[in-house]
Structures are given as structure tokens and as C-alpha cells.
Subunit: 227 residues, 2 copies
Amino acid sequence: MLCRNCPCRPNCLPARVTGGPLAAFEGAIKQRELQQRHTLVREGDPFRGYYAVRSGSLKALAAGKDGTDSVIMFLFPGDIAGLGAVSHRWPKSLIALESTQLCWIPESVANQGGLESRLSWLIGVRLRRIYLAHINRASRVSARRLAAFLAEVGSRLAPDGPEKRFELPMHQREIASYLGLTTEATNRAFGALRKQGLIQQEGKAVKIPDSGALRQYFTSESTPRPV
Amino acid sequence: MLCRNCPCRPNCLPARVTGGPLAAFEGAIKQRELQQRHTLVREGDPFRGYYAVRSGSLKALAAGKDGTDSVIMFLFPGDIAGLGAVSHRWPKSLIALESTQLCWIPESVANQGGLESRLSWLIGVRLRRIYLAHINRASRVSARRLAAFLAEVGSRLAPDGPEKRFELPMHQREIASYLGLTTEATNRAFGALRKQGLIQQEGKAVKIPDSGALRQYFTSESTPRPV
DNA sequence: CGCGCATTTGATCGAAATCAATATTAGTGG
DNA sequence: CCACTAATATTGATTTCGATCAAATGCGCG
């Protein structure tokens, strides 16, 4: 698969590159497949360029003192992995949640040919997304946090239309870790959202009948107190 | 004050710039003072370059639906404001917590003279810091979250030595908003840390007798569950 | 098929939210 | 500078939500 046909291109580094430079870019990157549960990079590894997620998904893990890890972030198609490691070391491990197609983009390639500004822009997008996640996780009601999470995942895995269907690639256990909840609380939060008709579930498949209603649910009264 | 004498230079854009280029940089930026509680930028304003914090501090606010804002981030001397707005709009309002000295760095200046890679590096630093904050806020024990916050602030406002003394520029109310707690819980968390001897307080002045002990306190058992 | 792991459900406990009231501080104008 | 006012900080009592403990069910996989 070449960049020119890749559905991720609008979100990727060479979004506006065409012609000869695009061909050069395509020649400089390297495609790679990562099997389910396999590790892409380990915490502390030296930085060796970026990985664009073309299909599948990953989780970023932060190692705790006692060997316990917590999930920091999920990466979906169109995301670039490695932004947190720029000119540094990988701050987090990255592990595939399912069979995942990646494009390796060497650092030298990303720092040439006018791609720096595009890279900065993408990092800005990432920062804004993290800030949004910060806000959503500030809610102390578990069902609201989960609702915000599912809305976010839905917008990534089923971008079109207000009704969304997708398969959750991660376990409830991993969602719980990401949201700072126990698995039991997470599970009950799923139940609460189902009972309110905001989501439907069938195994790992999730349907959001009305993403507007879901958003309405978690944006109302999400902040603890005004400032 | 020129960059060559600025204590923030190691953390700033022109960390490694010297000679003629440094003089050019100094000529291209513009110093500015912001009075307490005054607004630097408003949410949704177009991006107009970066602001380096030279002294003082700022809070970043996210507007809620109903006019209630929540604190997303605090900025201290050495920080660069605007990283989340690269080539976009300001995602958050920025308001001075105290009288604050800033350097305005036009976007064009930051994108020239080999500063792009330095900018990317700084954004990477910011991303890593946010991930760390994410982890710390995953703790469900309010005193632990506050301990992590105070350790972070202490490392910024009193970088030298294991014993730290500093003045908190923000209200407990703002800390509470940032941590996703009520003001009461935040206040009781202060009390808990005092009782354990991990901090001392006198008005807004905080003393951390042993920042290692404080870190030890909040890093142990901070994650809800392993993954 | 059986084993291990994840999910689901229930009961109890604990921490923080909430409600309420007071004390303190900061900011205002006289 | 002081009095006055509003906002913030502090403390207590009660309630609620999620953590914890425990057990059962379901599922994937060798």
C-alpha cells in the first residue's frame, strides 16, 4: 500500500506532499506488521523515528514501581506513535491490541522536506487531544468518564454519522486502567450506559445510537466545580 | 533583560543559539508584562505565536458548557505557552496568577534558523510532562494526587536541593479544579500531608522538608490496578 | 474438554462528595 | 488606615459512589 492510496494520509505526515517528493517519502518509509500483544517499543528505548498506525490499535503503558503498568493512551488508525519521544527516549511501552499495520518513518525523513511544520501541527493536535482527555477524566462519575471515552473511541473508529458501531479492541480491564477505575466499576458503568440507552453492546461490539446524546450526557456537569 | 542573561534560556527556544543569531532572536521577540488575573489569550483566539514565561505563573482554563471553567494546566517560569495551539487556535484561555513577565516569540521566528527541531524537542518535553500528570492523577486517593502536584510545583519553583520552599501562586480552589477534587477534599488532603510531616505550610508558603519522601509517598500504589 | 482469564454480579467498607456553618483572607471604598 | 464586603479556606455531619472482597458465569484457546 502506498501513501497515495492510504486512507490515513489526511492525518499523516505527508498529507500535502505530492508528486516526486511523495514518491521519495514512500521509498523512505518502511511498512511493518505487528502481531497482537507484541511490543513495538519498550519504555526507555532510544528514539528511532515515528510509527504511523495504518490499521489496528496500540496501547501505551507506563511502568509502575512494583511491576504494575497502567494504560496511558490508546492509538488508532491515523495516529502517529512516537510524538512523546521526540529527540529523547520512548517514555512509554507500545503494545499492539490486535494485528496492526504500521509505517515506520525515520526521524531524518520527518525532519526534512518541509515536514517539520507538519510534524509540529500533528503534535499540536495530539496536545489538544490530551487536554480534552484531561478534562473528561476530571469527572468523578465513572459512567461519565466511560461515556467520554466511548465517544472518543467511536469518533476514531466510526467517524461518520451520529450513529456509531465499532469493536472495542481493548479489554475492559485496560479501559479501567486508562480511566483510573477498577474493572468492576468500569463494568458497572457499561451497565449504566446500557440501561440509559446511550449504548448497546454485543460482546466487544458497541453501538452508539446517538453520539450527540452521549456527548450531552458526559459534558453536562462534568467539572467538579467552577473556578 | 536579554536572552543571554536570562535564567530561563536553558529551557527556552534559543537555548543553544549564540552570537549573531542570538542577537537577531533577541531583536525579534517582544517582552511583555501581564498583571495579576489579566488574560493573555482567550479560548478560540487565532494562534499568534508563543509566549515564554520568564517570571510569574499562569493557568490554562477550559470553558465548560455552563460557564464553569476548569483548570487544565499551570505554567511556570521556563515554560512556553502556546504549544497546544501550533498552527491552530488557542484551545484554552491563559490567565496570569500573579504579575508575570513574558516574552512573545512570533511564529515566524520559531520556524526559522534551525529552531524547528528545538521547538519539537520542547513539545516532546511537554507531552512527557502531560503523560506524567496523567499517571499521577490516576490515583484515587486525594492526598496522593495533591502530593504529586506539590512535588511537581516544587520542582518547578524550587528546583535545587531535596528541601523545597515556595509560594503557591494559585488558590486551593484552582488546585482542586486541576486535580478533579472539591475544595474541601483538597483542603483535607493538605491537612493529611501536614499531619504526616510531608509538607509544612504557612499561609501560601509551602515547605517540603524531603521531596524524596514526598515522591515515595505518592509513587507507591498510585495505579489502581495492573494491566 | 478443561484450564485460565475476563467479565459479571453481589455485599460491605471506605474515601470523597455533599450539605452546612464558621473562620480567615483579600479586596473595596471611605 | 480602617471598616466593610465578598471570596476563600477550614471544619463537621451525612450521604453517595466506587473500592474492596468474594463468588459465579462466560469465553478463548491449547
